[in-house]
């Protein structure tokens, strides 16, 4: 058992993680005829908490409670992985990426997330405005406008060979490339990196 924990505590390679994520698709279909998709949970939370009479949020969200339980599980999984299966070594980030990010003002590469960005001290600061508030808003707005995220479109949609999901995935990537290569450096400079 000890050896087993030691073994799964290493970072998992893509060819283990990818197929496991892919298997979520048939798992949900077979156990309950549910289509895989995560951004829907954000809509269900809106529908449950602040529907405000908006037609888009007026539906029987209780029927979709499985989706909220799934994301609750995702958070629990994060807790288990970090507390009981944590990688003993620091994360290995590509040297080219480290060099690029160093030029943008990131210096700490020892954690899964850059501590200079993701800490509570930044919340009421320009850094928090960009990385939490604006970034989060774009994720929530964009996924709903697109009708899905990486799970609903890239994985569930393309797996079922639906071309609209391929289009969505291409534009997810284009948006990401544009932010990374064009907007990120001036934005980071603006907020004091």
């Amino acid at each position: 058992m000890h050896q087993f924990i030691g073994w799964i505590s290493q970072p998992w390679p893509w060819y283990v993680a990818g197929p496991m994520i892919g298997l979520t698709v048939p798992a949900l279909l077979i156990v309950g005829n549910k289509a895989f998709g995560i951004s829907s949970s954000l809509r269900h939370i809106c529908a449950a908490c602040i529907p405000a009479g908006i037609p888009f949020f007026t539906y029987n969200w209780k029927k979709e409670i499985w989706n909220l339980l799934f994301v609750l599980g995702t958070a629990i999984g994060g807790f288990i992985a970090i507390n009981f299966l944590a990688n003993p070594d620091t994360i290995v980030i590509s040297e080219a990426t480290q060099a690029d990010l160093t030029a943008l003002g990131i210096t700490n590469f020892s954690d899964l997330m850059p501590s200079e960005i993701f800490n509570w001290d930044n919340v009421f600061h320009g850094k928090g405005l960009v990385f939490f508030v604006i970034g989060g808003f774009l994720v929530g707005f964009g996924t709903r406008y697109a009708g899905g995220c990486t799970s609903g479109h890239a994985i569930m949609g393309i797996s079922s060979l639906q071309w609209p999901s391929l289009v969505a995935t291409i534009f997810f990537m284009l948006g990401g490339f544009f932010m990374t290569h064009v907007l990120l450096a001036p934005l980071m400079k603006l907020v004091g990196f």
């Binding site: 390679p13 279909l29 970090i82 590509s94 690029d100 899964l112 850059p114 970034g135 929530g140 697109a146």
Partner: protein
């Protein structure tokens, strides 16, 4: 096959519940369990890492492309097997794959989501795993994502689709 049979009440719902059988009580725990495995994979393969997403968008590592690509290949094989072998759900129902209609939102909204993905280093799934992993400040990002979802819903009719 049943590809066009979308039995959800709401065509906008992308992860619809097509089940005729209502899960109650402990039966709902299976979704928590599948989600838990999913969350563990996200952390153990470092998919929740802002750095890994930066590597992907800078084309400096194959890792994330390998994860997403092999997830899709696995999904394609699984769905083909379900269709060709006519595999039923555990409740004996025919499995329904909802149809994704093309809308302008997949282009405009998709691009907007991409912008946010590169800033936060997270799509919606990893947001929940990051919070569970102890990066509690991501709760602020989650609230902002809920605000974004709400604003889309509120002003839906004004956006081209």
């Amino acid at each position: 096959m049943s590809k066009n049979l979308n039995q959800t009440e709401d065509p906008n719902c992308v992860a619809p519940n097509s089940s005729q059988t209502k899960d109650k009580g402990l039966a709902l725990l299976k979704y928590v369990l599948i989600g838990t495995v999913f969350g563990i994979v996200f952390v153990k393969a470092e998919i929740i890492s802002w750095f890994r997403i930066q590597e992907m968008f800078r084309l400096q590592s194959f890792h994330m492309f390998g994860v997403i690509g092999s997830a899709i290949v696995t999904g394609i094989i699984a769905i083909q097997l379900i269709k060709r072998l006519n595999i039923k759900s555990i409740h004996g129902e025919e499995i329904i794959i909802p149809t994704k209609e093309f809308k302008k939102g997949q282009v405009i909204g998709g691009f907007i989501f991409g912008l946010g993905w590169a800033i936060t280093g997270a799509c919606p799934g990893p947001l929940f795993a990051q919070i569970g992993s102890g990066y509690t400040v991501i709760l602020v990002t989650l609230v902002a994502a809920l605000a974004g979802t709400w604003v889309y819903g509120k002003f839906e009719k004004y956006f081209p689709n």
